[in-house]
């Protein structure tokens, strides 16, 4: 028997099925948490944002309609919460104007020597990406979303996401050249 889709589970929870929510939560708790963690860079803040996103989902469950993918809807809520967090903290959310800005150069040789593990080097390089590029990369890796779905989450077009993703991959390849 095939597993029910996210949309069916969300509709079931909207109609009062608590088990459907548990299943839905188990599917998306890890990717969503890591998306928020990469977005804010702090585990405590990520936990707070994580809870806020799920609380918001519970609150607006009655308005859910199967108009798009549940994943797109969920990460759209998370994106909005993340942007709201940056606005409240007076931390500028990097917009499209920073696309042309060349990110920080690759870590120095001393840092590379210390971060021998390629995974850690990837985490370090990822944290130095512009926020919008990092968001595009993480959404693609964690949620496995298409370019259109990522654009729908971020509120931009497909080509914009494609450009952001290309810049991010170019930077990460340059930073992890010896690991690939």
């Amino acid at each position: 028997m095939p597993e029910p889709s996210d949309e069916h589970l969300m509709l079931g929870y909207r109609d009062g099925d608590a088990e459907a929510f548990a299943t839905l939560y188990g599917r998306h708790r890890g990717p969503l948490y890591r998306y928020l963690l990469h977005g804010c860079g702090n585990s405590a803040i990520a936990e707070e944002l994580f809870q806020d996103v799920w609380t918001n989902l519970i609150r607006v469950r009655g308005t859910y309609r199967v108009e798009a993918s549940f994943k797109t809807w969920l990460y759209r809520l998370a994106h909005n919460r993340l942007v709201d967090h940056y606005r409240r903290g007076q931390v500028p959310w990097v917009d499209d104007q920073d696309l042309e800005v060349v990110p920080d150069p690759a870590p120095s040789q001393d840092q590379l020597a210390n971060d021998a593990d390629c995974v850690l080097r990837l985490q370090l390089a990822l944290s130095r990406l512009p926020a919008v590029q990092r968001e595009a990369f993480v959404l693609r890796e964690e949620a496995g979303m298409s370019l259109e779905a990522i654009g729908a989450c971020a509120g931009v077009g497909r080509e914009t996401i494609k450009s952001r993703l290309r810049y991010a991959l170019k930077t990460l390849r340059a930073a992890l050249e010896d690991c690939l």
Partner: protein
Amino acid sequence: MNPYLNQSDPNLDEPGLSALYRQGATQMPPAELDRRILDQAQAALQPQSEKGVTPGVNPFARGKASRRCLPPWPRLWDWTPRWKWSWGCFGIRDWPRRWGRPQYWHWPPRLPPMGDGRWTWRRLAIPLSSAAGILLTVGLVLRVLDEQSAMQGVTGMAPTPLADYQPSHPSQPSQPSRTSPLPPPAKPEREVVAKEVSEEAMGLPAAAHLSKAPSPAQTPAMELTGDGAIGQAKAQAKKRAENQAQLDDPLDERRQAMPMADSAGDRRQKSHITDVVPQGFGELPELTDESYLADPERWIEDIRQSWSSGQRDEAIRQLAAFRHVHPQYPLPEDLAFIH
């Protein structure tokens, strides 16, 4: 390999990076946070009655639920921010519950908090409606006061009371108005009009105050009734009735009855004319000419000549007299605008 990746663009496909990322993607939310969120989701599904909240109408409900409160009964949650704990209606339908459950309404109604867009306009509704009501009330009161002051201004310009009325020459016999010098017309025209208006409102003839010299027919009546206001009013009314009766007569009959020579009858007729024509206009010698009564066209022509020759005051006075003598005569267009 992620099946959602766009394989058409090799620049967006990096399997090595994806593998490295998945190796490091081990962060998970704490179990306590998971339990809290799951409990929250479970609690959200419980009905409100199990959570210790008084059941009421969902303020965001649609359809039948929103029509539960029939007019004119308002919903309590319209007036209190604690709508969750209040009943949906404040009406007969909720009457039994009203006696058994506590009330959460109060006066004056509490304003809902700002920040929620749904409540913003309701928060402004009471002040705005109050301000509008005050403005309307003040405007209405000012308008009433203005009208009252205007009425008082008209009645305040009324002439001296009839009780204080004294003819300027009580012992002077009736003379044609051309021979009786009138006091200089110092009063402005507006005041004269106001007097006429006020006296017309009192039922008195408009020209009564202008004829300072009483006519012979008027004097005995005044003597009989004394100088009191009632006697004067009766005399004026009697005189006005007589004048009106004379005006109603055909002009030809009066013309035939009037002698042509300058005799005592002529003087009597002249005095009769001065009764017809307001005494205030008696300083114009033409007004005593009996031909004006029989030939209003000639009178109009003279008025027109006076107006064109620059004697506009005279023309105005003559025209007023003409209108008084011939109220039904249609004025020509070139004189119709003269007031």
